[in-house]
């Protein structure tokens, strides 16, 4: 091994993704930046635990989400931005044809639990395989699949979209009314 093969040189190429993932989890840009900062330091000092040749982004995301959830557990009462910083950070984006629908989507996404946002970002947006997502989240592959399905079903319900055959269709309006408030049900 030479110095040029230091896997830590690769860290900079994942910073934007780490930050996007952190914002998705925290819904607060400054909290997200602190989370990224802490994760970088952990990754740097634990680089010996990274297996060269494996998916470094998945490894970094594991550190980041574990840090997020352990801090969240510590701080029982999570201080979440009541105004939805996540939506706010996206509001200024240039509008396209589907602007209104997109805004609604972002609002609905904002009301999901962190666990549901997490699985949707990993599987739906990052394009992780179920196996990679399972490893990152520290759960079984089957859990990733069912959680992703539930998360999609919630979004579909919140957006009033018609359910397809592979999403749960049995969420009644009472459940739906609770969804906006609920942070608990993690599938």
């Amino acid at each position: 091994m030479t110095d040029s093969a230091d896997p830590r040189d690769e860290l900079t190429t994942h910073l934007a993704a780490m930050r996007a993932f952190a914002i998705s989890l925290t819904r607060n840009v400054s909290t997200a930046d602190d989370l990224v900062q802490e994760s970088i330091v952990k990754a740097w000092t634990n680089i010996d635990k990274y297996k060269p040749g494996t998916n470094m982004r998945a490894w970094l995301f594991t550190i980041l989400r574990n840090t997020f959830y352990s801090e969240r557990r510590k701080r029982k009462r999570e201080v979440e931005d009541p105004d939805g910083a996540f939506s706010a950070s996206l509001v200024e984006r240039p509008g396209h044809d589907a602007r209104l629908a997109f805004g609604e989507f972002v609002k609905a996404f904002d009301t999901l639990s962190p666990e549901h946002r997490e699985v949707l970002v990993l599987v739906g947006a990052e394009g992780f395989s179920y196996e990679e997502a399972a490893e990152t989240m520290g759960v079984a592959v089957g859990t990733v699949k069912s959680r992703a399905n539930r998360a999609r079903a919630r979004l579909a319900e919140l957006l009033g979209l018609e359910n397809g055959e592979n999403v749960m269709a049995d969420i009644d309006s009472t459940t739906l009314a609770v969804l906006g408030k609920s942070e608990t049900a993690a599938a």
Binding site: R8, L11, T12, T13, L15, A16, A17, R19, A20, I23, S24, D33, V36, Q37, I40, V41, W44, N55, R57, A58, S89, L90, R93, F102, F105, V106, F109, L120, V121, V123, G124, A125, E126, G127, F128, S129, Y130, E132, R152, L155, A156, L161, E162, N163, G164, E165, N166, V167
Partner: protein, 55 residues
Amino acid sequence: MDSSFLRMPDDTEKSKVDREIDANLKRVYSGLIEEDVPDRFKALLDELRRKESGK
């Protein structure tokens, strides 16, 4: 290039609604990814490296 970014698992199994949701997710996420990374992170990496080489 990181090929995982482009991969879509089990796309054929997905319903139309799921595909719509994923398209929106990708749009939200790519908007976040395109944001400029704050300088503090690159500065932090430089600092970590400097500390180490100073040992």
